[in-house]
């Protein structure tokens, strides 16, 4: 602890503390260490009360306190020309031009979803959306990034169906379009699925609201749902320890969502902020009122008094600590001046949103919790009295040991050509179809068609493309804008397992490439860093290396990290998931009428590959599908080439030179061609001219490649642009026919009918989910 920090004096000298014998073991039971307990005693200057200990245990949990990650997260660049609000608030905010600003954030709901996928995923959406309108922004889009085990297991199909239904139920009910995301299936997630939700909101720059409490005498108002015992320690406890086998017993710690109340809260809160009636606002998420109140007080350098008796409850007999740490959903804490309170109440009443004064801002610097039924004496009512600043910001910081896992060198040295590969057009075509139908490649329509993708009437590019594009459009303030934002999420956990530094960089590079494909310029990212236990040196190593990789590429690209979330302890039965640092990237589109999509547009158009294919099958979907192998050296990533390729694509889109553009990722060139063909309902005739093994030409996942189609009249102009930017390319063939044919100098190497590949691609996921295998 920093001894120069002054701890403001306590308000109560006569608080009922715990027995000094009982407190330390209770602290341990609540997930604290004895050292952490000693620190609490030091800050409090005495043994804590029961309420205090509970609040500390949650505020200093890994989920709220970022004990193992805070030190590392400092490596990220967080500022830039666009940035209006970096990390540390409910969401990051960037300027998108013309006075518009976009707030966005990604958050995990992994542990609740692994126990109860429907409510877990639903409340994940709800929590993330609240973080957005808390900042004063109207939620305009959501995305989701999900990881499950393999679908041959009934439990995994149940988790997928449940999570998708939960997102569908919640997102559709609140009228926020789900415009994109990703899903990946791998054994590593069998016991610990990942559900990361990303929400994006739009506001005028001057509407930006921060959760900074100020003005002693101002009222603390709880808005929204009543407070119950549901989700006590939900996010904080579940997300701060490993899974026991009896995960079902933890169901009561999963929150239950009420999207209708969320919708009412969105409307009421935005109206309140629009009318400038609030001093500050925060949503009640992990650790409930305790977290929001102490953080708001600490940010504003003030104190806050909360009367637990006034917080509306949904069940009787709740202890003060239960009220203070409940994670009941759809609640907000607002700071309101006494003069504005009547108007605030009136607006909340009109929207049917309960609003109750539960406390006030003080000048004590202390977070004081009262129970006014205990006594008539204001001092005797106090059940917790803590320095707000220390509670919110002084969770211990750990720098645990990290060691490079031995498997990394071993797997990197794996010789791809030590295993057999298909030969001949039939065998290669069979493998191609198998890849196309792999759940990691096949169309996600079965998922996203359960989400309303178009509500708000601004979705320009729907799910299924490289990145979603949403028009700023009619913002409800009478203004119209043809500007847009592009959004995508990305992470290949397999890559990060093989090489966390490069894997994290590739996640970023691919996200940026996805944006380039629609013509957008990356502006900023949010991240959701999903890892196993940080207390395991080999896991912590992958965490540090992922952060290093990400921080370095962010600097290189000049793209800051403005918000994010860390989810540790993603383990089951002692084994950690693949490191999965998911990136959510937002980019700018100057004019939504000048964009590009992945589908081929017209027969006869030239098909051109920007970038170059190398013999890089390490970590590929091909190896996994054909040999059940996750091995080999990752594809290289040359940051300068990557930037040039993206620049070339973006400029070509903006000059209207491209008919289609599609990023090459899992499955490589053959899959990218197939996806453009299926999306455009047009075949392709391709001739590959390289000296690579056939499987590498077709399925290598070399980075910095984009597949484009160009109308004949514009080919020359486009090639001039590529030459000007010194970007390698190859002419592959042309769009046409009802067949997909790929040949090399020796003749055809892959042949497939468009009808067949369309059926395989479109239908595979649904067939896998509805299968009865494994019962």
């Amino acid at each position: 602890m920093n001894n120069t920090v002054m701890i403001p004096p306590a308000v109560s000298e006569s608080i009922h503390t715990l027995d000094s014998e009982i407190a330390p073991p209770l602290a341990v039971e609540l997930g604290l260490t004895l050292d952490e307990y000693a620190e609490i005693e030091k800050i409090q200057g005495r043994v804590p009360s029961l309420t205090e200990l509970y609040i500390y245990s949650l505020m200093w949990s890994e989920h709220c306190g970022y004990k193992h990650s805070r030190g590392q997260l400092k490596k990220f660049p967080t500022t830039g020309a666009h940035v209006l609000q970096g990390p540390g608030e409910n969401a990051g905010v960037i300027s998108v031009g013309d006075g518009w600003a976009v707030a966005f954030k990604m958050e995990s709901h992994n542990h609740p979803s692994a126990i109860e996928p429907f409510e877990g995923a639903a409340t994940g959406v709800g929590g993330c959306v609240r973080d957005i309108f808390t900042m004063g922004a109207r939620p305009i889009a959501s995305l989701n990034s999900m990881r499950f085990g393999t679908l041959d297991k009934p439990r995994q199909r149940y988790l997928l169906e449940g999570a998708v239904a939960g997102i569908s139920y919640y997102g559709n009910s609140i009228g926020v379009p789900s415009v994109g995301g990703e899903v990946f299936f791998e054994e590593t997630y069998d016991g610990n699925c990942l559900i990361n939700a990303m929400a994006v909101g739009l506001m005028r720059e001057d509407q930006l609201t921060r959760a900074v409490g100020s003005g002693p005498g101002n009222l603390a108002v709880v808005l929204g749902s009543t407070t119950g015992r549901d989700g006590i320690g939900g996010a904080s406890i579940l997300a701060s320890q490993e899974f026991a086998e009896a995960a079902e017993d933890q169901r009561p710690a999963v929150q239950v969502g009420d999207p209708f109340m969320e919708k009412l809260l969105i409307e009421a809160c935005l109206e309140l902020l629009d009318a400038k009636l609030l001093v500050a606002m925060s949503d009640l998420g992990a650790a409930g009122v305790s977290c929001a109140a102490s953080e708001m007080a600490s940010r504003g350098g003030v104190g806050i008094d909360i009367d637990v008796r006034k917080v509306p409850r949904r069940e009787s007999g709740m202890q003060p600590f239960e009220v203070m740490v409940s994670e009941s959903q759809e609640r907000m804490l607002a700071i309101v001046t006494p003069e504005n309170w009547p108007q605030v109440k009136e607006i909340c009443d009109r929207w049917g949103v309960p609003a109750t004064v539960c406390g006030e801002i003080t000048d004590t610097g202390r977070f004081v919790v009262r129970d006014t039924e205990l006594s008539d004496d204001p001092i005797q009512q106090i059940v917790a009295d803590m320095p707000a600043e220390m509670l919110a910001n002084s969770a211990p910081l750990y720098d645990p040991p990290a060691s490079r896992p031995a498997y990394m060198d071993e797997l990197a040295a794996f010789d791809i050509y030590s295993v057999e590969h298909p030969e001949g057009v039939d065998a290669v075509s069979d493998v191609f179809l198998k890849l196309l139908g792999s759940p990691n490649i096949a169309s996600r329509a079965w998922i996203y068609q359960q989400f309303d993708q178009q509500t708000r009437n601004n979705t320009v590019v729907l799910p299924g493309a490289d990145a979603a594009v949403v028009r700023l459009g009619d913002t409800g303030h009478g203004e119209l804008s043809n500007r847009g934002i592009a959004m995508t999420t990305d992470c290949n956990g397999r890559y990060c397992y093989l090489d966390p530094y490069l894997g994290a960089q590739i996640a970023f590079a691919e996200a940026a490439r996805n944006l380039a494909c629609v013509g957008a310029e990356p502006a900023a990212i949010t991240d959701c860093l999903n890892f196993g236990s940080p207390e395991k040196p080999e896991v912590y190593y992958t965490f540090i290396r992922s952060i290093d990789g990400l921080a370095d590429i962010c600097r290189d690209f000049g793209v800051p990290v403005v918000s994010g979330n860390v989810s540790f302890y993603n383990e089951s039965q002692g084994s950690a998931i693949y490191p999965t640092p998911t990136i959510g990237m937002v980019g700018l589109v100057e004019d939504i009428n000048v964009i590009c999509t992945p589908g081929f547009k017209a027969a006869g158009d030239a098909i051109i590959l920007i970038g170059e294919t190398a013999d890089e099958l390490g970590g590929s979907e091909y190896l996994k599908v054909t040999h059940d192998l996750v091995a080999g050296a990752l594809p290289r990533l040359d940051l300068d080439l990557e930037k040039d390729v993206q620049q070339a694509c973006r400029q070509a889109v903006r000059r209207g030179l491209l008919q289609s553009a599609h990023d090459l990722s899992e499955g490589g060139l053959a899959i990218a061609i197939a996806e453009s063909a299926i999306a455009g309902k047009l075949g392709a005739n391709i001739v590959i001219d390289d000296d690579l093994p056939i499987v590498a030409s077709l399925f290598a996942e070399s980075q910095s490649r984009i597949l484009v189609s160009v109308s004949e009249a514009k080919v020359e102009q486009f090639i001039d642009l590529l030459a000007e930017l010194n970007v390698p390319y190859s002419l592959l063939g042309e769009v046409g026919s009802e067949k997909l044919t790929i040949s090399n100098a020796d003749g055809a190497i892959l042949e497939a009918d468009l009808d067949i590949i369309t059926d395989v691609f479109d239908g595979s996921l649904e067939r896998l989910v509805t299968s009865t295998e494994g019962f």
Binding site: M261, N457, V460
Partner: protein, 235 residues
């Protein structure tokens, strides 16, 4: 005669309604006027047509549209419709109209038991209602987005509705498109829009406002334009 730009739509907002702004935007894009009407209000004075947009009114709790159908404004909508004035319900708005008894039938959960959101081909079955003047057989591309969109009425009512030309739109990819001459109507599964007997009240599952300003198509504008044209002609 009403000047086009003076034609004023009322767009009703219930707690939970989320597509009101989309509808107002689409109507204004077409050059008409539109304003919001609050669920607790009881008057529709001054509106030339009324739209009940989609979104989960009252969270779709109890049953889609059930709670909203008892709102004060719905008494006004009933009176308004009884006077022969035009009312359009879109998706959840359609469900509210059936719950309110302004349209026959009711909405069951999708056969897939899943929410469905996608663009579909819709074929015009009958254009005798006031909200549509496109020739029967024409195909439109319109987005749907609903969990409870399986229209159901008893067989007698269905026959009556067919005879009265109340089956307005059908999903083109259902069998109905291939139905023989004698029974050129839709089967229950494929009904996408129905009108009341008088033709002034229309309920439709597709969202016309999403394909009006060109962002995702333009086939939806026809519904708003048709009612303006109709009212101008009778005025």
């Amino acid at each position: 005669m009403i000047a086009v730009s003076d034609f004023r739509f009322g767009v009703i907002i219930f707690p939970g309604t989320s597509c009101g702004q989309d509808v107002v935007h689409a109507i204004r894009h077409l050059g008409f006027d539109a304003d919001y009407v609050w669920h607790a209000d009881s008057s529709l004075d001054g509106f030339d047509a009324v739209v009940i947009p989609s979104g989960a009114s009252y969270g779709n709790y109890l049953r889609s549209g059930a709670i909203a159908s008892h709102s004060p404004i719905m008494e006004a909508v009933k009176d308004y419709a009884e006077l022969g004035k035009p009312v359009l319900g879109i998706s959840n708005g359609f469900q509210i109209l059936t719950e309110a008894g302004l349209l026959p039938g009711e909405m069951l959960q999708n056969k897939s038991v899943k929410y469905v959101s996608k663009s579909v081909q819709i074929s015009v079955q009958n254009n005798s209602c006031q909200w549509l003047d496109i020739a029967p057989g024409t195909e439109l591309t319109l987005p749907i987005s609903h969990g409870f969109g399986s229209f159901y009425v008893d067989q007698d009512t269905l026959k009556e509705m067919e005879a009265n030309g109340q089956i307005v739109l059908c999903y083109a990819q259902c069998d109905c498109a291939a139905a023989d001459q004698e029974d050129a109507s839709c089967s229950l599964d494929s009904i996408a829009a129905v009108s009341n007997r008088q033709g002034n009240v229309l309920g439709m599952m597709p969202y016309p406002e999403r394909v009006t300003d060109g962002i995702a198509g333009t086939d939806g504008g026809a519904f708003f334009s048709a009612i303006v044209k109709h009212i101008k002609e009778v005025a």
